[in-house]
């Protein structure tokens, strides 16, 4: 009996099973979207509470426990602002399933972790194929990239080191987007419906980052050099692509490619873990999530329009304008939000060597100010469209965006020790051994 209780109170099982069990009764509420939405929100809250309860017993998490909390929080916030309509139901239940899988991947080890990862890759590519929101080449690129991830993952099971590590690294480069394997990430953000892109904007990079953290210290020098080059190319490519986009979701997806390329560059250059990298990843993912949710609010009112078709929303939607400008502020890497703190912290890491690559990184950083300002300016300022009916954010939309802004603010000012790894014996060096601001 004690053994059964011990099995059922295992943190991994509890965290994976809770969202899954929550998703099953959701099917009974299929015809009542309002109740279904309330139910999935309750399940995400239950996951959060469960995580709080078992967090003391979780060991071996490379990126620190607070990082784990962001997943149910992001799931909750991405669901909160959604209109209770029939179209959103699949996305809501998929959010629960992906939340369970994501939590499982982050806290499990070896075999189980790979199986869960396989499920995430398969499920996301299946959804992309099912909804077919992408154009032909984009769709095949997205599915192809996920297939590559699956093949590499399978290969890692039968190969021997160092091929195992390289295969796994390729899989993780699909999740934490690295040029030229970013098609999966872009496809997930552009090609999925409802709140799923907003949630996956955090989930996919988190899984990828967590995996890369454990692999990169043991990578051969040649591979690391290749990663640095790909990261720099990705930073430039993502920035240029984001500059050329008129569709908000595409812009955000390519901006994510550029921002995560900076993280790849940092990880490959330092080959070490630092809490600032976790802050940076979390902040970039959350800000993408927030901007996607903000765009969903616009989309719910005006349809999936071109960025140039809407302007002057600051006049008619002041609450939306305030929150969008704060999110844009965070996305542009301005203080006091987490993106800035994480980026500064990474650049001031004592183990970061000086090189010309820094120039490319700051150029990518500068480009972000350009395209995010353009996004904000196009939507909020300029000619006010009197021919359209305007409605400011509803309570739930407002609450979800406000909470995201507050989390981003907290990430910017919270002491970095909160994100220190719980497992110093993982084989990777800790860059924060010496002082951060004062070497």
């Amino acid at each position: 009996m004690a053994a059964v209780i011990e099995t059922w109170t295992d943190p991994l099982l509890m965290l994976v099973v809770t969202p899954f069990l929550g998703a099953a009764p959701g099917l009974l509420l299929w015809s009542k979207p309002r109740m279904l939405k309330v139910w999935v929100l309750l399940v995400t809250l239950a996951s959060l509470v469960m995580l709080m309860g078992v967090s003391g017993r979780i060991t071996g998490l490379a990126a620190g426990i607070p990082f784990l909390f962001l997943l149910p929080v992001a799931a909750f916030l991405s669901l909160l602002g959604q209109p209770a309509q029939h179209e959103g139901r699949v996305a809501w239940l998929m959010t629960l399933i992906l939340l369970g899988l994501g939590l499982g991947i982050l806290i499990s080890q070896n075999g189980l972790k790979l199986i869960l990862l396989l499920n995430v890759l398969g499920l996301v590519s299946l959804l992309i194929g099912r909804y077919k929101k992408l154009s032909g080449p984009q769709l095949w690129w997205a599915i192809g990239t996920y297939s590559l991830g699956v093949v590499c993952l399978m290969g890692s099971l039968i190969a021997t080191p160092p091929v195992t590590s390289i295969a796994l690294l390729l899989t993780y480069s699909v999740l934490l987007p690295l040029f030229p394997f970013h098609g999966g990430y872009v496809g997930a953000l552009v090609g999925l419906p409802g709140n799923l892109p907003a949630f996956l904007a955090l989930l996919l990079p988190s899984i990828g980052f967590h995996g890369v953290l454990t692999l990169i210290p043991s990578m051969p020098g040649g591979i690391v050099q290749t990663l640095v080059i790909l990261a720099l190319l990705g930073a430039l490519y993502g920035s240029l692509k984001a500059l050329a986009q008129n569709r908000v979701v595409s812009l955000l997806a390519y901006a994510g490619v550029a921002f995560f390329a900076i993280l790849w560059w940092y990880l490959a250059t330092t080959k070490s873990y630092s809490p600032q990298a976790v802050i940076y990843l979390s902040a970039v993912a959350l800000v993408t999530c927030g901007l996607l949710l903000a765009w969903l609010a616009v989309q719910a009112r005006y349809g999936d329009v071109d960025l140039r078709a809407i302007s002057g929303l600051a006049h008619s939607m002041p609450r939306f304008a305030t929150l969008l400008s704060l999110l844009a502020l965070a996305a542009m890497g301005l203080p006091p939000f987490g993106v800035f703190s994480g980026f500064m912290g990474m650049l001031l890491t004592p183990s970061l060597p000086l090189s010309g690559a820094l120039l490319i990184i700051v150029v990518a950083w500068l480009a972000a100010s350009w395209y995010f300002l353009n996004l904000m300016q196009q939507l909020l300022f300029g000619r006010h469209r009197r021919d359209l009916r305007h409605e400011d954010l509803r309570q739930t939309e407002f609450a979800s965006l406000l909470m995201l802004v507050l989390i981003l603010l907290a990430l910017g000012i919270v002491p970095s020790r909160f994100f220190e790894s719980g497992t110093p014996s993982h084989g990777y060096s800790t860059a924060m051994e010496s002082t951060l601001w004062h070497k």
Binding site: K241, A244, L329, F340, L348, L352, W365, F381, G382, M432
Partner: protein, 569 residues
């Protein structure tokens, strides 16, 4: 007791929160409620100045420099005499502008938001000048870029959106360069604390290679200071990243006053804050001098071609900022602070008044007043003789007295010459302007000229002696800056002689024109003048160059976006 000084920046923040939160409901009352914290902040700044002057710098840190468990943003305050002086300037200008704005913006729809942003800008400026380290200074430096974007443009007018976009993008260029400078400084010297950074940079000279095998090298401190200087250039509107300033014309008048009197001084403050670092790099100081001189010259030339009161004042500010930066490049850091204070107070007054002038002009149906007809034919020997004596004879006597009687070694001290020279240029500028006054008695103009000369000389004596000593109490430090900034003797002499000749030529031309004498100017000079006029009225086409650059980049981005569909997502 000294910890209470942090209330000085916090009070305007409190005002901003109160107005921002309760502004819509309380409207008039909340606006007036904001006055009290801002005035209190001003009084607090004065008390801080007194405290710092008598007891030395105040340091309050909310992080431990030697601990990894610090805040992600290392917040702390370091208030020395420079910070305290800046705090007084910022609070006095902000108080005046805030009180003015309460009435001026009363009927505006965004009245409360505007006042809240004004108070928040004051908070950001105060935190910036009292930052304990480079990162905190950079944090508030960037927030200032954002506030400039919000405040300095009227976002309801589509025509100004382009200007707002350019402003923020150019400011971000400066921010990014500043960031690179901080990263480099931290990588080379391992600290972001001001005093330690200066000490380590002085103790450990570092040479950086600009490329493997290229043989090109640069000193570490030069690289750091040059990068940070780009940041200063963007905020202080230095050529060629000055174009954002004239584009902010549609902002309300109080914003102009705050922008031209406070925000734009950030560059000068930054160079002063890092003066010990700049003093280690003669190369950077020479670059600073060249950029400052170029901006002063081009700013003044562009100002002369403007036909709009706000644009004229805008370019005048660019020119004045050029002077301020040039003074830093010459090693006269204290003089630059003195300049920015004087310019700040003067420009704030002019801008606040210009709002009324524009308002009155809109009400007035008549044509603008022309004074040429009335002025023609009036010529006073007394005025011209006084002007001649005041600008050319007396300064020469002072120069000879300083050299011979007071035994100031002018030949070996570029610093002393710079002070004397600047006082001469300033007084000449003022006196030449007075020659335009013809509606009053000539003896009054003559007396005004002499008083101007006296005032300018006394002011510069104050700046050279008391104020320099106040900001930089160690004479060796001041001397070391001048030494580091010293130009080659031939170049320095050439610049002094060239400027002297220009002033004499200016006298000659004005005198001849006042005498209604025809001056024969060669045809090619006239043609050149016409071309230069076109060039300057089009602002040297710098805007066009930026536009082309932006368009080029977007073309590349679109080409990449279109071409890669099919082989890359």
């Amino acid at each position: 007791m000294s910890s209470y000084v942090i209330l000085v920046p916090l009070l305007p923040l409190l005002a901003a929160i109160v107005i921002g939160v309760a502004g819509c409901r309380l409207r008039e009352r909340s606006a007036k409620a904001g006055v009290l914290p801002i005035i209190t902040a001003f009084l607090g700044a004065v008390v801080t100045l007194v405290l710092v002057s008598s007891q030395g710098p105040i340091s309050v840190r909310f992080y431990e420099p030697g601990s990894v468990a610090n805040l992600a943003l290392p917040m702390g305050f370091y208030i020395d005499r420079l910070s305290a002086v800046m705090m007084v300037l910022i609070t006095v200008v902000s108080t005046i502008i805030y009180i003015y704005s309460v009435g001026y913006m009363y009927q505006d729809r965004g009245h409360s938001r505007f006042l809240a942003l004004l108070a928040f800008t004051t908070f950001v400026l105060l935190c910036m000048v009292s930052s304990a380290n480079l990162v905190m200074l950079f944090v508030f430096w960037q927030l200032l870029s954002w506030l400039l974007y919000l405040l300095a443009h009227n976002h309801t007018r589509p025509a100004t959106l382009d200007g707002a976009f350019k402003t923020f993008t150019l400011l971000r260029v400066g921010d990014v360069a500043f960031l690179a400078g901080i990263v480099l400084a931290h990588a080379l010297y391992g600290t972001i604390e001001f005093q330690e950074l200066f000490a380590r940079a002085a103790a450990t000279p570092v040479i950086l290679s600009l490329g493997p095998g290229s043989g090109l090298e640069i000193s570490g401190v030069t690289a750091v200071t040059l990068l940070i200087f780009i940041g200063a250039m963007s905020k202080s509107a230095q050529f060629p990243i000055h174009i954002w300033l004239p584009k902010s014309l549609y902002a309300p008048t109080p914003v102009h006053a705050l922008l031209h009197a406070g925000i734009i001084n950030a560059g000068g403050f930054l160079l002063n804050r890092l003066a010990p670092l700049y003093g280690l790099s003669p190369t950077t100081l020479h670059v600073v001098f060249v950029i400052g001189a170029l901006t002063a010259f081009l700013g003044a030339c562009m100002m002369l071609t403007q036909n709009d009161i706000k644009k004229t004042l805008g370019y005048s500010t660019i020119g004045q900022m050029g002077y301020m930066i040039m003074e830093c490049g010459l090693g006269a850091f204290a003089l630059a602070v003195f300049h920015l204070i004087a310019h700040g107070l003067f420009k704030a007054t002019v801008f606040l008044n210009c709002g009324h002038v524009i308002h009155a002009a809109r009400q007035e149906p008549k044509f603008p007043y022309k004074d040429q007809a009335a002025a023609r034919g009036e010529f006073s020997r007394l005025t011209w003789l006084t002007g001649f004596i005041a600008t050319l004879v007396l300064p020469l006597i002072i120069l000879l007295a300083a050299h011979g009687v007071l035994r100031i070694p002018l030949r070996d001290s570029q610093g002393a010459v710079i002070f004397l020279f600047f006082s001469w240029v300033t007084s000449s500028q003022a006196i030449l302007t007075l020659t335009r006054l013809r509606a009053v008695a000539f003896w009054k103009v003559a007396v005004a000229m002499l008083l101007t000369l006296l005032l300018v000389i006394l002011t510069y004596l104050l700046a050279a002696e008391s104020f320099t000593y106040f900001l930089y109490p160690a004479p060796d430090e001041v001397a070391s800056y001048f030494q580091a900034a010293a130009l080659p003797a031939w170049l320095f002499d050439f610049l002094v002689v060239a400027t002297t000749l220009l002033i004499i030529l200016g006298w000659f031309l004005i005198y001849a024109r006042a005498h209604v004498q025809t001056i024969r100017i060669p045809g090619w000079v006239e043609a050149l003048r016409a071309r230069l006029y076109v060039l300057f009225i089009n602002r040297l086409y710098v805007d066009m160059v930026y536009l082309k650059l932006g368009q080029g980049l977007m073309r590349v981005a679109h080409r990449l976006d279109k071409r890669d569909v099919g082989w890359l997502p």
